[in-house]
């Protein structure tokens, strides 16, 4: 089943050039992981899960996803540290990171943007539109607008 078929027409244009296959969901809350997993899998996307910061790094090393959905309050390495780690490694520096956090302060969002995140989703969120949102973001990343996405994040605060 193609994920594209479910998308609203307005989102289909930029998503055309993106093939979202694998997403890593990193969150210590099992219910959040479950919600993300079910909705992503229904769109035919493979989902990896991680509970701690170290598990995130391990999972990426095992198989590189198209995007990481990264919670911040993780046991062990927290989301910030994971993002720093990924940014500092040449193989993973270009891996798109989308933060998914209950921390909604503008400082948090700016910090995320400064750590190279291309999107910042604040909990609670609508998991049924998650696929569209990720595909739209990745389409722009593929179009070389990654830096612009970061700027938009910074300006949104």
């Amino acid at each position: 089943m193609s994920a594209d078929t479910d998308k609203p027409p307005s989102m289909s244009a930029p998503a055309d050039s993106v093939q979202l296959r694998r997403v890593l969901v990193a969150d210590d809350e099992a219910p959040i992981r479950a919600v993300c997993r079910v909705n992503l899998q229904l769109a035919g996307i493979s989902v990896d899960e991680a509970v701690t910061g170290n598990e995130v790094l391990d999972a990426i090393e095992r198989e590189r996803p198209d995007v990481v959905l990264l919670d911040i309050m993780l046991p062990g390495l927290d989301g910030w540290q994971v993002a720093e780690e990924l940014l500092s490694e040449t193989q993973t520096a270009d891996l798109p990171i989308v933060f998914l956090s209950a921390r909604a302060g503008r400082e948090d969002i700016r910090r995320g943007a400064n750590l190279g995140a291309v999107d910042y989703i604040v909990k609670p969120f609508d998991p049924t539109t998650l696929v569209d949102r990720l595909e739209a973001t990745l389409a722009r990343v593929a179009a070389g607008e990654g830096e612009q996405l970061r700027q938009e994040l910074l300006e949104s605060t």
Partner: protein
């Protein structure tokens, strides 16, 4: 030749007895030679005593017997021979010559006597003048001498006014007041004899009324019978200081001598007058000094501002003025009379009446209003008639009051203090008194200056008292207060400032703020001073200041008041920490609320998807998730509410009988439901544990929090045990885990609000940071204690001790 009357009798006697003697000699001696000698002697004596005519008479009378007895018989009676004729001629000639000689001598003696008398008079007047010390005494001396010489009927002395434009009559004698009414002052340039004399320095001698009318037609007659008049300039050392006038009761002829004498008299009078005036000036100055000294004493006796001003008119009346008043400018700009004094108590009320009924308007161009407005004195030696007319035109009643007051000459001077006009002092003299002079104005200003200084003192005293009170208040106020002058130097440093900053007063005073005030750079950077002048409200800014080892947060406000800045500071370190904690809590709480909320919302959204079947396994899992996450939300909300109750003191305890063992079992059963399978629970209860009195619900809450905590911090599983024991009416509950443990440094901190140990240490440890805070608060409110024993890696034991009976 005029003869003195007393010489007629001896001359007549000699004239008669000389010839009788010749007759007796002829009868008894018949010696013509002796008779001739007696005859000649008689002629000479008669001439001497009576002059030529008596000599001739004596000669003629003597010739009769001489001729009769000594004529030759042949010649009978008469001039018989030529010899006899010769003798007769010789006799007559002798008589003539002798008479002439004696006449001349007598005239010379008379002239000498007259000169001596004049000199004596000058001498006398010089003596009289030398003892005269006032202008009146000088005039008295001059006139006394003139009148004594049967010369002048009346006289007056006039002096030049200060501006040199007018002559002012100082003293007079012999003229009626009526006549001089309009002559107190008259212009130097006027065509009057005295004006002329003073102006030109030439004496004016007028012999008769006709001459006066011819020379000075402008001068109206000042007496009915105007006769001779003398006007003399009074000159001292080349300075003309005034003039002297004598009026005579008859026409006079002023010869050189009399003129010279009058001029000499004028010179003496001028010197005496000058000296008198000097003396008067000196004694006046002395009187004024003592008056001012006395005034200063009176003025400085009160430290009340208005009372000081009120005492001024009393000082001025009657010594300087007949009437005096003080007006002040009120803050609303109205002029208010504060004191009045009048030499006549009956007229005192008029002074009040006039200011009450006709208060001066601040914008008026004259008088009190002008003085108060401009600070310039008003000086009216003669109040112009037009002012009275204006008053009359404005209000006839006011004119009546003015008349009652008898205003004639006026001075109004400002009462100043440090460039500010506090009030105006008005001085008025009645018509009978002399007009105010420049020196009166000087005196009035000196009095006003002293009054101003005294009033200013009173003001300063009042200000100082207020400042003293303010300073006392500032000393004891809890906020640190300091004051900087324009140069940034600390001028005031109160006790609280020392307590807050640890900088002693002596180390701060007179030092630059940047040297004395800790953290000055930050204070200056963050605290914007309010402008007191613009009525701005000061806004406090919290500034972190390093004081010794620690950083304190100071809330600082500053107000700029023109001459400097005043700063007030308060240590808000605790408040700041609390605020920080509160803001952290909001962030934390919102995070804690959002997480379960995200699960509930996400699960519900997912369940609504068309491609998700609620009855599938996934569907059921999501429904369970919604239920449990909602319960979690409820727990968090409950904790927040409980915290709010604890903080506001609204929490009340309800003691009941309860079985501790049963309570612990219930709690463990509840927690176990959501606990990981790796965690096991056990209860140790000592025997003989009876029922306890306590608030069961609150204790349940404590135990739930402790046990959930134990589970949460045992990420790797293990046993959570609860031990129960009781001694002496106290129950002990120990909750033990084998989990992560707590570092020694955090043992106290874990009980504080919003404290959570680094979540990175734990797996899935969320929480509000309120569990242990709530536990301790509740235990302490139940009269118990709670403590922790723990070390990292070896688990924790929380011990609760409670009174239960």
């Amino acid at each position: 030749v005029r003869l003195p009357r007393h010489q007629y009798l001896p001359a007549a006697l000699v004239t008669v007895f000389g010839p009788a003697l010749v007759t007796l000699l002829a009868l008894f001696t018949d010696d013509s030679v002796v008779a001739a000698l007696v005859y000649v002697l008689a002629i000479i004596t008669a001439s001497l005593a009576g002059g030529i005519w008596f000599g001739l008479a004596a000669s003629a009378l003597s010739l009769i017997p001489f001729n009769y007895f000594f004529a030759k018989p042949e010649n009978e009676f008469g001039f018989a021979t030529g010899e006899d004729v010769v003798v007769a001629v010789v006799f007559v000639a002798t008589a003539l010559a002798t008479g002439a000689v004696f006449d001349r001598e007598r005239r010379a003696r008379a002239a000498l006597d007259a000169a001596a008398a004049g000199a004596r008079r000058l001498q006398q007047s010089a003596e009289a003048l030398s003892s005269a010390v006032t202008p009146a005494e000088v005039l008295d001396a001059v006139l006394t001498e003139s009148v004594a010489a049967a010369e002048a009927r009346a006289g007056l002395i006039a002096v030049l006014t200060e501006d040199g434009r007018d002559l002012e009559i100082l003293a007079q004698r012999g003229y009626s007041e009526d006549r001089l009414r309009n002559w107190h002052r008259f212009p130097l340039e006027g065509e009057y004899p005295l004006s002329y004399a003073v102006r030109t320095g030439e004496p004016v001698f007028i012999d008769s009324e006709a001459e006066r009318i011819r020379r000075f037609p402008a001068l109206p007659p000042i007496t009915e019978q105007t006769h001779a008049l003398v006007c003399l300039p009074l000159v001292v050392e080349g300075r003309t200081i005034g003039g002297l006038t004598f009026s005579f009761a008859s026409d006079q002829e002023f010869d050189e001598e009399r003129r010279a004498m009058k001029v000499a008299l004028a010179r003496q009078a001028a010197q005496a007058l000058d000296r008198a005036r000097l003396y008067e000036a000196l004694s006046t100055a002395e009187q004024r000094m003592s008056f001012l000294a006395e005034a200063s004493d009176v003025l400085s006796s009160s430290l009340d501002y208005e009372e000081t001003l009120r005492s001024v008119p009393q000082l001025a009346v009657p010594r300087i003025a007949d009437w005096s008043g003080v007006d002040v400018l009120d803050e609303d700009g109205a002029i208010r009379r504060v004191a009045v004094a009048h030499s006549d108590p009956a007229k005192l009320d008029w002074g009040w009446e006039i200011s009450r009924r006709f208060p001066p308007r601040p914008e008026e161009a004259r008088g009190v209003a002008k003085v108060l407005r401009t600070g310039e004195p008003e000086f009216l030696p003669e109040i112009p008639e037009q002012l009275f007319e204006q008053a009359r035109a404005r209000d006839p009643e006011m004119a009546g009051i003015l008349e009652e007051l008898g205003m004639h000459t006026l001075i109004c001077v400002p009462i100043r203090a440090r460039d500010r006009v506090l009030g105006a002092l008005t001085l008025v003299r009645a018509e009978s008194a002399r007009p105010f002079s420049r020196s009166d104005l000087d005196l009035a200003m000196a009095l006003a200056d002293r009054a101003g200084a005294a009033a200013d003192n009173a003001l300063l005293y009042r200000e100082a008292e207020q400042r003293g009170e303010a300073a006392r208040a500032l000393t004891y106020v809890g906020d640190g207060v300091f004051l900087l002058d324009r140069g940034g130097v600390v001028r005031y440093w109160n006790r609280a400032a020392s307590l807050i900053t640890g900088v002693a007063e002596e180390d701060a005073l007179d030092h630059l703020a940047c040297d004395a005030v800790p953290g000055w750079e930050l204070i200056e950077e963050h605290v914007r001073p309010a402008d007191a002048g613009a009525g701005e409200l000061a806004r406090a800014a919290a500034v972190p200041v390093a004081l010794g080892e620690e950083e304190r947060w100071l809330s600082v406000v500053a107000v700029d008041f023109g001459d400097g800045r005043v700063y007030a500071m308060r240590d808000v370190t605790e408040e700041h920490a609390l605020e920080q904690a509160r803001s952290d809590f909001v962030a934390t709480a919102s995070h804690e609320l959002r997480t379960p909320l995200a699960a509930v919302y996400g699960a519900a959204k997912t369940l609504r998807r068309e491609d998700v079947d609620v009855n599938s396994q996934v569907g059921q899992t999501f429904l369970d998730m919604i239920e449990s996450e909602a319960e979690r939300l409820n727990g968090i909300v409950g904790q927040l509410l409980l915290t709010g109750q604890l903080e506001s003191g609204r929490l009340s305890l309800a003691e009941t009988e309860c079985d501790l063992r049963e309570l612990v079992d219930n709690v463990l059963a509840t927690v176990a439901v959501s606990a990981p399978e790796t965690v096991s629970f056990e209860v140790e209860a000592s025997n003989g544990l009876g029922p306890a009195r306590c608030d069961e619900d609150k204790l349940r809450q404590v135990l739930v929090n402790l046990v959930e905590n134990a589970v949460k911090y045992s990420p790797n599983g293990g046993t959570v045990s609860v031990a129960l024991s009781s001694t002496n009416g106290r129950a002990r509950i120990e909750v033990r885990d084998a989990g992560l443990g707590i570092p020694e440094a955090d043992h106290e901190r874990v009980f504080e609000k919003f404290t959570r140990l680094d979540p990175g240490l734990t797996r899935g440890v969320g929480g509000t940071g309120l569990g242990l805070y709530i536990a301790r608060e509740l235990v302490e409110r139940m009269g118990g204690t709670i403590a922790v024993v723990s070390a990292p890696g070896s688990g924790s034991t929380f011990t609760v001790d409670l009174p239960v009976s």
